[in-house]
């Protein structure tokens, strides 16, 4: 099978690597074929004619906006709290790191609906933390956009953490030594040396996190519910469409895909192309 790629001799980059050995090219081509073929089948099947009208409905636009905004917020939160956690797992001498890491991987494996139930048990109106919060302030998370973000964060953050931890472990720690002799404390070293060194890994982790958040379904519908405008994300829209009109569901999925590919494409050019 021919993969849709062609090898080019690099002219612009004299140190460049050219040519891909067969032992890598063949499995890579298989991987691409396997990932692309179902997508191609989907594209063939998609109801192209109705795509325009689908897209123009305000519900779909709302859902799309909600999806992108909530997934981006979830990724932002994950970056802010997850990258430090990855650092703690990879670098610190904290006792019980193994247990910590195991706990972090939990949401990866938990069926998302169960994850949603867990979130309700913790942060719901009757939840361990949610009940005192509700009686004190009258605030409750479920059925709000906040809940969507929280559910996505819960499910997607571990992807970021594990991925960044891997990058941290592969990084050369001696640069951190050098920073220390220059007077940089742990925090500054982290921000100005470690983080830039592992930027590609953080970017990869953020992509995984964002994508997982964008595709989140089970935890969201369980914890946040499904109300147009506030909690109905694009994925929820797709699942509803599946019940009545599978073709529309495919069309909606393709819209979601297009948006995510565009977003990632734009970001990646800035983030990753620095090697």
């Amino acid at each position: 099978m021919n993969a849709p790629v062609s090898v080019r001799q690099s002219r612009s980059q004299p140190d460049g690597a050219t040519g891909v050995p067969a032992i890598l090219l063949i499995p890579a081509a298989i991987a691409v074929a396997f990932l692309v073929l179902p997508l191609a089948a989907l594209l063939v099947r998609a109801p192209w004619s109705t795509l325009g009208s689908l897209l123009s409905t305000p519900e779909v636009r709302d859902a799309l906006r909600l999806s992108v905004v909530s997934a981006s917020l979830a990724t932002l939160i994950s970056l802010v709290v997850g990258v430090p956690l990855a650092w703690v797992l990879a670098r610190s001498q904290i006792r019980g790191r193994g247990v910590l890491r195991a706990l972090v991987t939990v949401p990866l494996v938990l069926p998302p609906v169960v994850g949603g139930v867990a979130l309700l048990l913790a942060l719901g109106r009757r939840g361990v933390l949610g009940e005192p919060l509700y009686s004190a302030t009258g605030v409750s998370f479920p059925f709000t956009t906040t809940a969507v973000v929280l559910a996505q964060t819960f499910v997607a953050m571990p992807f970021l953490i594990i991925s960044v931890e891997g990058s941290l472990r592969a990084a050369d720690r001696r640069y951190e030594d050098a920073a220390a002799t220059l007077g940089a404390g742990r925090a500054m070293t982290f921000r100005r040396v470690t983080l830039p060194l592992i930027a590609p890994g953080v970017a990869a982790g953020a992509v995984l996190c964002w994508a997982r958040a964008l595709g989140e379904f089970g935890a969201t519908i369980t914890f946040a519910g499904n109300f147009p405008g506030t909690t109905r994300t694009m994925t929820l829209q797709v699942y509803l469409a599946l019940e009545t009109d599978p073709d529309a569901a495919i069309a909606l999925s393709l819209v979601l895909l297009a948006v995510s590919i565009l977003t990632l494409g734009l970001l990646r050019d800035r983030w990753l192309m620095r090697t």
Binding site: R174, Y175, D177, A180, T181, L182, G183, A184, G185, P196
Partner: protein, 350 residues
């Protein structure tokens, strides 16, 4: 700004136990063979490695005192360090690498940049000011590392072979600059170098370390005149012998005897310069009182002279001119006579 350190640390199979005293403004050079533990000592002084025992004090303040549980984090030590493999931050430009320490120690961005730009100029790096380390040559990288360590105005300067990748011209300039800077510098400096010229030019005090232990301490001139180990003798280009003096005759440990210039008694070292050794095809009859048969073990061109390693009762090195070598037919294994004037032989207490 004086450093007083006693560093005890185990590294693999090597036990390091080195004591140093560096007075304010003084430069101490650490010399020693590969793997002697020189870099390890610097890492301990920097706080990057934790000594098992001992004490590191700077200006009376304890930086490390394992017995008392004291240990100052590296970034709180007022130090500057050049690493043997530079460790320039790959994502920062030359000027940003140099400015890093200033920023870390609280300078404003503008102030840090001004100072860093001055260092860029002083190190002749202006052309590469915004280059990333990947695109620097080895010597350029070393200059950036040096500037980065010096820019922060440290109170203790730790330099691990700061001049080794520099070309002859730049080395002269940077060495002079460093000398200048160290002259102005009120703090203590510990310098690791393999180049005796660097040590001579820069250091006030020389500490020779072998296998983790101090084997000789002194001024560069003392050490180079009176080496106490084979390593140092080699370093300064001398042949070292040891024996017992009985007046002006020294009985070597291997049984041979050497006539020396000054009378003494008891165990002594005997140092002979290669240039003072004459080689002959047959036993010479002249004035030199030291004459030994020897076999040629190796011949290495060395500048315009040839350095000849000799085996025999007295192992020696001799420098001869290419013409003399041709005349003597100095092939490997050839038998020759070596002679040294007694006045050229230095003996000093072991």
């Amino acid at each position: 700004m004086s450093l007083s350190a006693h560093v005890v640390i185990q590294r693999g199979s090597l036990g390091v136990d080195v004591a140093l005293e560096v007075k304010p403004g003084e430069v101490l050079a650490l010399l020693g063979p590969n793997g002697a533990g020189k870099s390890t000592v610097l890492r301990v002084l920097a706080g990057l490695a934790r000594p098992h025992a001992g004490l590191v004090r700077l200006d009376g303040q304890s930086l490390d005192d394992p017995a008392a549980g004291i240990r100052l984090a590296p970034h709180r030590r007022p130090i500057g360090m050049v690493f043997q493999d530079h460790l320039l931050f790959p994502h920062l430009s030359t000027v940003d690498n140099i400015a890093f320490g200033l920023r870390a120690r609280g300078s404003s961005r503008a102030a840090a940049h001004t100072v860093a730009a001055r260092w860029v100029a002083r190190m002749h790096l202006s052309e590469h000011s915004s280059a990333k380390p990947r695109s620097l040559s080895g010597g350029q990288a070393q200059r950036v590392a040096l500037a980065r360590a010096l820019a922060g105005d440290p109170r203790l300067l730790l330099l691990d072979e700061p001049l080794s990748a520099l070309d002859a011209r730049t080395k002269l300039d940077v060495r002079a600059d460093l000398r200048h800077h160290l002259g102005d510098f009120a703090g203590a400096t510990v310098l690791v170098t393999h180049d005796p010229v660097d040590a001579m030019a820069l250091a006030d005090q020389l500490v020779v370390v072998e296998r983790g232990r101090v084997v000789q301490v002194g001024t560069p001139v003392e050490v180079s005149r009176r080496p106490r180990t084979d390593y140092v003798a080699r370093l300064v280009g001398l042949s070292l012998l040891s024996g017992t003096a009985h007046g002006r005759a020294v009985l070597l440990d291997n049984g041979a005897s050497v006539q020396v210039a000054e009378a003494s008694n008891g165990p002594v070292f005997v140092a002979i310069r290669p240039a003072s050794v004459g080689l002959y095809r047959s036993r010479p009859d002249g004035s030199p009182r030291n004459v030994w048969p020897a076999t040629v073990a190796g011949v290495t061109p060395y500048g315009e002279t040839l350095r000849v390693d000799l085996e025999g009762e007295v192992p020696l090195t001799a420098d001869v001119s290419p013409e003399a070598a041709a005349e003597l037919d100095l092939v490997l294994g050839a038998g020759v006579w070596a002679s040294v004037k007694a006045s050229e032989v230095a003996a000093y207490p072991a």
